[in-house]
């Protein structure tokens, strides 16, 4: 009696629930979690302080002492934790603070890009202050940032000087011991230029004797071309090369072949 009832129960359950119900449930759960997370993180990204201040060396000094001096020292002399900022110039400040890399959140192998912590005015105050202590590379001139140079020359220079770390499509790549060259897609023209002249973190310097300002303009042009032009071959799969593409074909290509063979050999309902 008991067993019979149980069997009926399970039959009823089987009748109520579609075999794909579990898969669908997991998919819905994942999408909901991912969506909620994306919403929350973009919401936090938008919370920025809206303090507007006059760009000036004094403001920059105050900001520096409040936010940077703990590690970089009150006179920019650096400490065991952080390098000296004497002579790094306005360009380095604009790059590091303007991409959110500084202030650093945690001491790690590499400072990652994150939501910017200061307003544009505050960043230029900081940059002016650091540049006033000792001269260094200045924020690049507008004429080199118009992304209207020779894209072909820029692409050749990019392949020779940059592509080994940043990937031939500018998608970024891995370095040693957890460090990485970040993706260059979506990086502003000024930040690309500043990175080349100030050598943030483990990136080597590409000074104006190595790549002239015109060459840098061409490289920026090539990068912006890659960013904005459609990819003829369809979806680029993050342009990560054989790993991403191989994984895709192994999972979806072979997966669909297996699904089709199972369907062909299965008995009809």
């Amino acid at each position: 009696m008991f067993t019979k009832k149980k069997r009926q129960d399970s039959a009823a359950k089987r009748g109520r629930r579609h075999p794909l119900a579990n898969v669908a449930l997991i998919a819905i759960g994942l999408i909901a979690t991912g969506g909620a997370y994306a919403g929350i993180s973009s919401a936090t990204a938008q919370t920025e302080s809206t303090v507007v201040s006059q760009a000036s060396v004094e403001d920059g000094e105050k900001l520096f002492q409040a936010n940077c001096a703990t590690c970089h020292g009150f006179n920019l002399e650096g400490s065991d934790e952080a390098p000296s900022l004497i002579g790094v110039g306005a360009a380095a400040v604009d790059f590091q603070v303007g991409t959110g890399r500084m202030p650093m959140q945690a001491h790690n192998v590499q400072a990652p890009e994150k939501p910017v912590q200061f307003t544009d005015d505050q960043i230029s105050s900081l940059a002016e202050y650091v540049a006033s202590v000792a001269p260094g590379p200045a924020i690049p001139e507008e004429q080199y940032l118009d992304a209207d140079g020779d894209a072909a020359n820029g692409a050749e220079l990019f392949r020779i000087n940059c592509a080994m770390c940043h990937n031939v499509a500018g998608a970024g790549g891995a370095l040693t011991e957890g460090k990485y060259a970040p993706s260059l897609m979506g990086v502003s023209e000024a930040h690309i230029y500043e990175a080349m002249i100030t050598a943030p973190q483990n990136m080597p310097v590409f000074n104006d004797m190595n790549l002239s300002p015109e060459d840098k303009r061409d490289i920026i042009t090539a990068l912006k071309f890659m960013e904005n032009e459609v990819s003829v071959g369809g979806h680029p799969l993050s342009s990560l090369g054989p790993v991403a593409e191989g994984l895709f074909i192994w999972i979806f290509g072979l997966g669909s072949i297996i699904a089709v063979t199972v369907w062909i050999t299965a008995k009809s309902n």
Binding site: M164, L175, T176, A199, N202, V205, M209, S268
Partner: protein, 357 residues
Amino acid sequence: MAHDDNSGAELAAAASSDHGPENNVSTGTAVVANDAVENPGFPPHRQRVTDLNPKKERTAERTVYTLFYLSIIGSVWAIAAYMLFPIEPENLLSVRLNNLFIGVGVALALLGIGIGAVHWAKALMADHETIDERHPVRGTDETRARAVEIFETANEESGFGRRTLIRNSLLGALVAFPLPAVVLFRGLAPEGQDPVALLNETAWEAGTRLARDPSGVPIKASDVTLGSAFHVIPEGLSEMDHMLEEKAKAIVLLMRLKPEDLNEREDRKGWSYDGIVAYSKVCTHVGCPVALYEQQTHHLLCPCHQSQFDVTNHCAVIFGPAARPLPQLPIAVDDEGYLIAQSDFQEAVGPSFWERH
């Protein structure tokens, strides 16, 4: 376990009666299983919904012809898409749309036929299980005798066994005909030159200026600021014969470190200039270009197999499959301030080869 009425036993009996005599061969050392698994036969025949329900049968029929019609639509669409979305020069989006829509049409055309045919066979065609017995591999005695006979006749009529001179000269010809290929392949190596010597030397000579890749503009020592990495070729490379072959061997990475960071060996103290060092960019593992220079850790990473070299220690291997340090190019500065090579590399660049020392 369910048993079909006309299962195993009958089939086994039929099989043994078909070719009983041939099966009486010695089993030799093979293990004869006395308790071999019994043929379970067919599972009970289960009728499909299309056999039981005429409505479902009609649905299946409709699905199949709809799929075939879809295939026709796909083919026509592919032709239409070819005309509607032509490839316009200079417009990458047009290439993409052209590929996409023609591809969708052709995929629909082929998948429609394929899926329709399989569904037709599975849902509507007659459904009964049969067994196709595998034919015995051994031919009948007659066939075997006939085969031997054919060979003998052929041998007799052609005189292959009898006319030994013809046979042997044919064998000689067969041996000789691949030889030209061997000689021709050897000809792919540089003519009149020793490949070992070619691999041992590069375009660098004493006094050759270090120049930027790709412009070929020579580099002054003062251009190379601290933390810089220059991609270097020998000056005048573009005028050389076999420029790309020379470039493949001669590429160099130039870096400037703080002089106190370099741990230089006594015999190589003179190979750098004020912290500027030059190393071959060809990995000693399998020859990928090693140029992922980290200016703070002074590590060089090869992107192919993750070999790591320590620039402060004469590019000693600190990780990965490379077996040797990267060869160092001895450099100096001429009277005009340009960086020059003191000599060629002191050892062969790139991966190992038999005669490398």
